[in-house]
Symmetry: C2
Subunit: 340 residues, 2 copies
DNA sequence: CTGAAAGCGCTTACAG
DNA sequence: CTGAAAGCGCTTACAG
């Protein structure tokens, strides 16, 4: 831990240069890793920096470089309300980790996606940040989709919407992953396969439902048992209830998120239906929720933290002027535990 | 939505002044709301600002004012892992809302509280932010407690630890609130009153347990039935199980968080025990979890969003050079629903 | 390899 | 009430 005397003004480059016996220019050069500096100069400047506990002034740097060294983390308000979904927390953690070794800071922007405040738009487009991450299950259908044309933007999850130019995003192949989860159920000999789907206005909701359908079609099984949730635990329980009402003969459910799966399991147990014997459950995410519930969930693993890290790396690459791929699809795999 | 031409460089104060036919000084004065400016000048500058869609350059401003206009939001990593607790999401939302009308931005700092990276310490104390919010259930026992001496810091929840100077914090009277919740159970005629407590190294955990004990003592009731959780849903279920094992005769439980209460309820229902008939439950928080579970929770309401707002207001006051009170204790009340 | 100088976009005494 | 000027702390051609 560094001890700081708040009374003393922070040392400037000037002071470092003086202490090192070189000019401000030279001091600046070693700070910025220029190669054209003599070893002697490097050494003495570095010593001075250490001794004075020098930290460059961000504002001064920003002013000359016209870079803010700040990246916005745009979180739709309803997302933070539903932060209960560990998926988001993991993504954010990944982004933060991916930025750890850089000099960028993350500024938090809570947005109302359906009606972005002009203040936020001005903040984002007004040169206050060098880029933005958008973390939301239904990002892109709104003002956020257009953002990419004025600012480097990386989305967590494929954005909806029809922006002219392609957006950067990191995602998994939701359809394929859902099909994989469903196939596991089929392979176990299950035949009455229901699903609890995510909202049909979110890519993750849509694609996972498609995957479930595709796997059933391949196996010549009907896809008539579907109920919608909103990715929350409570909605999972409710969807399970209505599924049970309408299709008492179902023998398993592919659930589009672990949180909903936990809700579904608790509903089943309350109704005295055994999991997985009578009804098997496959979840999606492999979030902490998968292991902390009443029964350990068999689920499709999604590398959420890694996705966040990749978002950060993509942003850093763009900022370096490189040309990273627009799409990053990370691999998923099935984790077999006790629920199916 | 503002349309922005990314190709054109952002207009400077210079440009505004020129367009308004005044000097840079005057333009700056109207921008900063100085009173010593003629109405004419004010009007023409404002027109120029609107026409050019001028946004002041933060870096330049920071450089001369030596204010960063940035506030750190320090979130311990384990907190974000447990972000599932809507309490934190609400606090953060409140902070963001309280800052909405200010020019401050919130930078997110994920910290490992037991071993703060020197990078973060340097960031916080190195003049990169004007203040910091610390949001954590066990803030203060670590490096964060000392932070207050070098930087304005406002804690969410009373910090532990023995810092020399008093810290700023916003909290509720956890002990009194817990006693209120417990008393509700007593008033219903319950006599075998257990508790599921929060961790004993967190103020919220400690104080709520104290409140439960105090209410029981007042009523001449024993306080022998206690199990610990860690504020997560899963831990609530597990604590309920062990309570039931050891004290099959309990007739109600005061639970130190809604999330744990939801876990407890689901455990009870699985064991075929009716809520509230056989076992009544009182939770704590009045978070969304209280209304979305299998049974609507009777719970102690804590104004989480308002607490966040108050944290922001306190910070803003400190930054204005005012002398706000160090402690803000917000009121709680009981919300009676179906679980007790 | 090095230093003197200009300049990034603002604010604020200072003199009028 | 207003403008010319200095200065905040850096970086980077430019000339050597």
């Amino acid at each position: 831990m560094t001890t700081v005397n708040p009374a003393r003004r922070a040392p400037t480059l000037e002071a470092v240069a003086a202490a090192a016996g070189v000019s401000r220019s030279t001091a600046s050069r070693v700070l910025n890793g220029s190669t054209n500096v003599s070893p002697d100069a490097v050494a003495s400047v570095e010593r001075a920096v250490a001794r004075l506990d020098y930290v460059p002034n961000r504002a001064a740097r920003s002013l000359v470089n016209s870079q803010t060294m700040a990246l916005a983390l745009v979180v739709p308000e309803d997302t933070i309300r539903f932060f209960g979904d560990p998926y988001f927390a993991a993504i954010v953690q990944g982004i933060a980790r991916g930025l750890e070794d850089s000099d960028y800071v993350l500024t938090l922007q809570l947005a109302n996606p359906s009606e972005p405040s002009t203040k936020m738009v001005r903040y984002l487009t007004g040169g206050n940040v060098d880029g933005a991450f958008v973390v939301s299950h239904h990002s892109g259908d709104h003002f956020l989709a257009g953002l990419g044309s004025t600012l480097p933007v990386v989305f967590g999850g494929r954005p909806l919407g029809d922006s002219e130019q392609p957006n950067y995003f990191v995602d998994v192949d939701n359809a394929a992953a859902a099909a994989m989860g469903t196939r596991h159920l089929i392979d176990q000999g299950r035949r009455r396969i229901a699903t609890i789907a995510g909202p049909s206005d979110m890519p993750a909701g849509i694609d996972r439902t498609e995957g479930w359908k595709a796997a059933l079609a391949d196996a010549g099984l009907p896809d008539d048992m579907l109920a919608y949730g909103d990715f929350t635990l409570a909605s999972g329980a409710q969807a399970m209830r209505s599924l049970l009402d309408q299709h008492p003969d179902l023998d398993c459910v592919f659930v589009a998120s672990d949180l909903m799966a936990v809700g579904a399991v608790s509903e089943l147990r309350e109704q005295g239906i055994s999991v997985p014997q009578q009804v098997a459950i496959v979840g999606f995410d492999d979030s902490p929720a998968a292991e902390t519930g009443a029964i350990r969930l068999t689920t499709v693993h999604q590398p959420s933290v890694a996705m966040g890290v990749r978002m950060a790396e993509t942003m850093l690459a763009i900022l370096r002027g490189e040309n990273p791929p627009h799409e990053h699809i990370l691999p998923t795999h099935l984790v077999v535990r006790d629920s199916a």
